[in-house]
Subunit: 224 residues, 2 copies
């Protein structure tokens, strides 16, 4: 078997783990506003990672996520009690995986591909969410941008993958549901797969992931 792809790296939040599932919990806490809170929280979280990276003001993703929650509740005029904050942050530590993911990961593992996560998350929160999803024995490496104190899409963050595997980025398949992440990984040099769950349009960045599928199962076709 000639296989140029020797390892696969997965984004975590939104790709392996369902970030928007938090909307249901938010809806319980803030009836009628759950979706708005979940969407704004996610947008702010990502925005803060970028601002902090561009300004060399890194702090761990867990804290950035908490900051984004506080801002989002202020903005939406929601009263974030200490209890509600702990409940929502607690949920972040045990986000459910998308339904097909564990099966697909086991198939890829059986093909003797090396598997890793490369995430904005800090190690502690990544360990928690991986365990909660029953994925402890799936990944060879769990890489956190915390090692370089820069969030994606900084090249230093993406470089963690080739460095860890001792492979060139082209021989690593980078998988993300976030189109901006898949595009930036393509700029960086990875072979890329965009899991386009929401049937979203391609970002207009003048770059295109190498492949796209509606869910993780599409990966199995691409890799064979």
């Amino acid at each position: 078997m000639t296989m140029p792809i020797q390892a696969i790296i997965f984004d975590a939040y939104g790709t392996l783990f369902d970030v928007y599932s938090i909307g249901a919990l938010a809806e319980k806490l803030f009836p009628g506003r759950g979706d708005a809170l979940a969407a704004l929280w996610r947008d702010k979280q990502i925005e803060y990672t970028r601002l902090r990276t561009m300004c060399s003001m890194y702090k761990p993703f867990w804290e950035v996520t908490q900051d984004a929650l506080v801002f989002s509740c202020n903005k939406l005029d929601l009263d974030l009690t200490f209890d509600a904050q702990n409940t929502l942050m607690g949920q972040y530590a045990k986000l459910p995986p998308f339904p097909e993911n564990l099966g697909v990961l086991r198939r890829l593992q059986a093909m003797e591909l090396k598997l890793a996560i490369l995430s904005n998350g800090n190690p502690q929160m990544l360990d928690a969410v991986v365990k909660a999803a029953g994925m402890q024995n799936i990944f060879n490496h769990i890489l956190s941008v915390d090692a370089v104190k820069k969030f994606k899409t900084a090249p230093e963050a993406y470089q963690l993958g080739p460095d860890m595997f001792g492979l060139s980025a082209k021989n690593i398949l980078f998988v993300s549901s976030n189109c901006w992440d898949a595009c930036a990984a393509t700029w960086f040099g990875y072979t890329t797969f965009w899991v386009n769950r929401a049937n979203a349009p391609l970002e207009e960045l003048g770059v295109k992931p190498d492949a796209t599928g509606p869910d993780m199962a599409g990966l199995l076709e691409f890799i064979q």
Copy 2:
């Protein structure tokens, strides 16, 4: 008069010029969707500047703005004809200033403060919008991040101000309606004023502009 502030630098889009005014035009072109298009267009434009800066993939703001428009119409399922695109982009070249701005700028000029713009916009589009607003004789300098090929909030972009004036950032007042811009300029070292027109909550970035006002007129009190 002892005056620690010797120069004032203004952000352009959203601060001097009313970006959301584009919503009215968008509403004419896409009835019922104008506000949604204007808001998404603005968000994507800023997002693309950050992604391109983090990945060293700079291209001029005019083009980034056009890319963001195309994406936003795709996303909202709006048919962006060549005509509509030219109309909307054309409007971007002649955005109206907020009503109080010209008067405030003339008062500041009369106080013999040096005034400049520091913007993500490329020189050509900045020249056009400044002329359209009748502000040709107001500014000592119009600084574009195009000189360093990095968008705000990169430190290299903010550094253009101190370099041009030969002043330390602390002695320059940086004025922006975009809270993220005012916060990042504070991180950089400027004295900062956030024009909080929308009465938005402070971004949760662990930093606070030195002063805030509901419109540009608040500047006159702060500076005296």
